[in-house]
Each structure stands twice: as C-alpha cells, then as structure tokens.
C-alpha cells in the first residue's frame, strides 16, 4: 500500500515537473554546465570499471568456451554480454551512484534549509529551476558515456584476449563484428537515454521529498540510488526483450 502511494506521489511529481518544463524556457547554459559536471564526475570511475569489466569478460568467456574448444567465441561473448547488456547497465549504475546521489543529497539539503521554499516565495518554479537543467544534462551525457564505456570495455577485452590469453586478434574481431551491428550501438544509446530519465527523476524526487535532518538527507540519498538501480535493471530487461528479441546473434 505504501509502495502504491509512493508511486502515486512520484507520478504527481513527474507531472508537475513536465508541466513546469513545458511552460518555462529551457535553461540552456545551466543544462550545459550540468552535462559537463555529470560527465566529468562519472567519467574517471566509468573508464576504470569498464576497462576491468572488459578484462574479466574475456577471462570468463575464455574459461567457459576453452574446455569445449570454442575459445574463438570470446569476441561473440563480449559483444553479447558486454556491449548489449553490461555497458548500458554499468553506465547507469555509475551515474546513479555518482551524479544521482549528488542530485538527491543537494536537493534534500536545499529542502531542509528552506531554499526550495525560498525559490517558491521568489516566484521561481523549483521544479523547473532545479530539475530541468539536471534532466537535460543527464540526457545529453548518458548516451555518449555508454559509447565510451562500450569502446573501453571492448578494447580491454581485446587486449586481454590477445596479449594474455593468446587468442587471434583478427578472429576475436571477426566474431565480435559478426555478432554486433551499428544498430546495437543505437539501441544501447536508447537504453541509456531512458536510464537517464529514471535516474534524474528518481533522484530529484527523493531529494524534493526528503525528511528534515541529516537522517532525512541520508535516507533520500540511499533511496535514490537503490530505486534508480533497481528500476534501471528492470527496464534493461524489458528493453533487451523488446530491442534484441528475435535478432539472434
């Protein structure tokens, strides 16, 4: 029952934000600043995690296929698991953990210090002022971050496959490119786009509705990352089913 009420409040929050964004001019300069900040915040950790996920995909793919004599399939494994599934989810998780929690905690602190009330009294719509630039910013950077993650993951898995596991590089790339196609990249960016919507709205929702005191800020931050990650995971499953179903290898 509580979850249903929470979902209803979230729906109202999203409707309020949508109306505020539709009736105000887009804050271009602040959106670009947010995009830059979210991108810069998330990029270093994303590069590191992507690189090591790539290395481990290669290792586990090799462990799985080598006993069956199918070590050449590592490239295919990286393409299917890494490109289509892990990279978009990994980017979403990193951005939810770094930028999403920052959004939630910043807005929660503004709530308990009455700064959001102050915006309202100054006749400045807080949904437009606080959420719209973050929303545009995250949508601008999440798809490119996903492409960067895919590239990093692929390069690291290629390097481990060829330099450490002794696989043939041309064969790795042949299986990789046979399994993926340019549309996969587009689908991954579509996934990232929707993940961005979820992360931003969920994080801002919990920030806006924070209870007072340090505990309230902590709870809002924690809830934002948990709900964002779980929602993105669920959406990832649904979108994979819709986008990749029936396409085979």
């Amino acid at each position: 029952m509580n979850a249903l009420a929470e979902f209803g409040r979230f729906g109202l929050f999203v409707a309020t934000f949508a109306r505020a964004s539709a009736t105000h001019p887009p804050p271009v300069r602040r959106s670009i600043e947010e995009a830059y900040r979210i991108g810069v915040l998330s990029l270093p950790i994303l590069l590191i995690i992507s690189a090591f996920v790539g290395t481990n995909l290669a290792l586990q793919g090799y462990n799985a296929f080598a006993p069956l004599g199918g070590q050449r399939l590592v490239g295919m494994f990286v393409a299917l698991a890494g490109v289509r599934e892990l990279a978009p989810m990994m980017v979403a998780s990193m951005v939810a953990a770094k930028a999403g929690t920052e959004m939630a905690s910043q807005i929660a602190v503004m709530r308990i210090r009455e700064q959001i009330d102050a915006l309202e009294v100054m006749a400045i719509n807080p949904h437009w002022f606080l959420i719209t630039p973050r929303f545009i910013g995250i949508l601008l950077v999440l798809p490119p971050l996903t492409v960067i993650s895919i590239f990093t993951l692929t390069v690291s898995s290629y390097l481990v496959s060829t330099l450490q596991l002794g696989l043939n590089g041309a064969e790795f790339l042949a299986y990789f490119t046979d399994t993926t196609e340019p549309m996969d990249l587009v689908y991954c960016m579509i996934k990232a786009f929707f993940f961005g919507i979820i992360i931003c709205l969920v994080s801002c929702f919990y920030g806006f509705n924070s209870k007072s005191g340090p505990n309230g800020v902590g709870e809002a931050t924690n809830a934002s990352v948990v709900v964002s990650a779980v929602s993105c995971a669920l959406l990832n499953y649904l979108m994979s089913e819709i986008l990749f179903s029936g396409r085979g290898l």
Binding site: D117, A118, V121, A123, I124
Partner: protein
C-alpha cells in the same frame, strides 16, 4: 492606500496526520503596519505564515491576500501574489553556491530585465540598507548568523515587495545581534512603508517592532490587538507568557529609537 486588510485569515484549519496544528484561526493583517504573531515554540507560527504565500494549503478555511484566496488559488494566481511578497526565512535560506551579493541579486535575474551591472548595483544598495556594505563578493559560508539573516532580508526586499514576512528573525542570534535586527526592521518599516508580518517567540523583540500583536496558542489565536491591548490582556496564558519576560519594557509603544 486602502484601509482594507491586506491579508485575512478566515477559520483556517491545518493538520499533519493526527496532529492538529491550526484549529480555526481567523484574523486580519492591516496594510502598512507591522504585525507580530508570537507564541511558544511548536505552536504552528511558521505553519501559519507559510499559508500566506501558498507554501502550505489549509485543510479548510481561507487565506485572502486582497481578493485572492490562497487556499483555492491557481498556480498563476499564487505566482502573482508571491511577486508581491518577500520572505526572510529562519536560517536565511541563502544559496550556498552563490556569494552574499549574488543571493540578493538572484530574484532580479528572474523577474527584471536588468543588466548584470544594474543587478549588482541594486544588490549593493540593498546590502548597504541592511548595514552590510561591501559584502557583495563574500561567500555565504563566511557569513555569521546575523549577517546571513541580514543578507536574507536584503534579498527579501530587493524587488521592493508590498509585504515582507519574517519567520523568527531573531532565532539563534545573541541579544546584541537580535537588537540590531529589530532596529533594522523598525528602520526599514519607516523608510520603505511596507507591510511586515513577523513570527517570533521573543516578546521583547515583538514589542520593539510591532504595531499589532497576536498570540497563537494550542492552534488558536487567543489574543490579537495593538501593543497596549496585548500588554493589558485578560487572557491568563498571555499574562503568563508576558510574566516570563521580567525585563519587559513599559507598555508605551514601540521601542525603536527615533532615526
């Protein structure tokens, strides 16, 4: 200037869950005067003042701001009313990412067509008015409690609103800084001719700045009148509240020294 009250509360009720905070509050706030609402902590004074600008909606009753009922106003009506108000929040509610002066200039950026230089000049003028000249570029983190309140006050008046709401302007301040804020409010009232509504639990401060005083207790306004009427109240709770302030000044009107 119209004699009609600028704000009118009519039988306002407000509860949070099972906690009933306002239990039928009705009173008028006259134009161009300073009205103070006092009462012990936790009696709903801040809740009351937030209804005026639509930050909270009552469960029942009406809050009229001239001819707009904030209890049933549309968003655009609320926006129009809010543009006529300034508000000083308890902690100042300054934006941490901006300097003191940028905070003051903030509403000008969104409600005027002033250039950046004009906004800065206006903000510096208001900072000087609250006796903080030259503090435009100071980060808010470097401001004392009293300075934060004064910067908040400068921001509240920068658009020269008709009404300024003060939510506990003296809370958390030492007595000397508190006196400075009181004197500032009194001087601004004389210079700017605005309507001030002050929420406080500090009776001394209240007598310093108010033309009319109301006491909120147990969700009801148990006394409301001029300062003299208030000091001669027959209400036992009011007399008890006053007795606790042994250093009360004589009931001879506001204590602001003449400019």
């Amino acid at each position: 200037m119209s004699d009609a009250p600028i704000i009118r509360f009519v039988d306002v009720h407000k509860s949070f869950g099972s906690l009933s905070v306002l239990k039928g509050v009705s009173f008028d706030i006259p134009r161009g005067q300073t009205t103070a609402i006092i009462g012990p902590s936790g009696t709903g004074k801040s809740v009351l003042i937030k209804h005026v600008v639509g930050l909270l909606e009552p469960d029942s009753g009406h809050i009229w701001v001239d001819d707009v009922d904030m209890a049933h106003a549309s968003e655009s009506q609320k926006l129009a009313v809010r543009k006529r108000f300034g508000m000083l929040f308890q902690g100042g509610a300054l934006f941490d990412s901006l300097t003191a002066g940028e905070n003051v200039a903030f509403p000008l950026r969104y409600h005027t067509r002033m250039s950046e230089a004009e906004r800065r000049a206006k903000a510096e003028e208001k900072l000087a008015l609250v006796e903080l000249p030259g503090l435009y570029d100071r980060p808010t983190s470097a401001l004392s409690g009293g300075q934060r309140k004064r910067v908040g006050l400068a921001r509240a008046i920068v658009l020269e609103p008709e009404v300024v709401l003060f939510d506990e302007p003296n809370s958390g301040l030492d007595p000397m800084t508190s006196d400075t804020i009181d004197a500032l409010i009194g001087r601004m009232k004389q210079e700017l001719g605005m309507t001030f509504v002050v929420i406080t639990h500090d009776i001394v401060s209240c007598l310093n700045i108010a033309d009319r005083i109301g006491m909120l207790y147990d969700g009801k306004l148990i006394e409301y009148g001029t300062v003299d009427q208030f000091l001669h109240s027959n209400q036992a709770i009011v007399r008890d509240f006053l007795k606790r302030n042994a250093d009360l000044p004589p009931a001879s009107g506001p204590l602001i020294p003449p400019p």
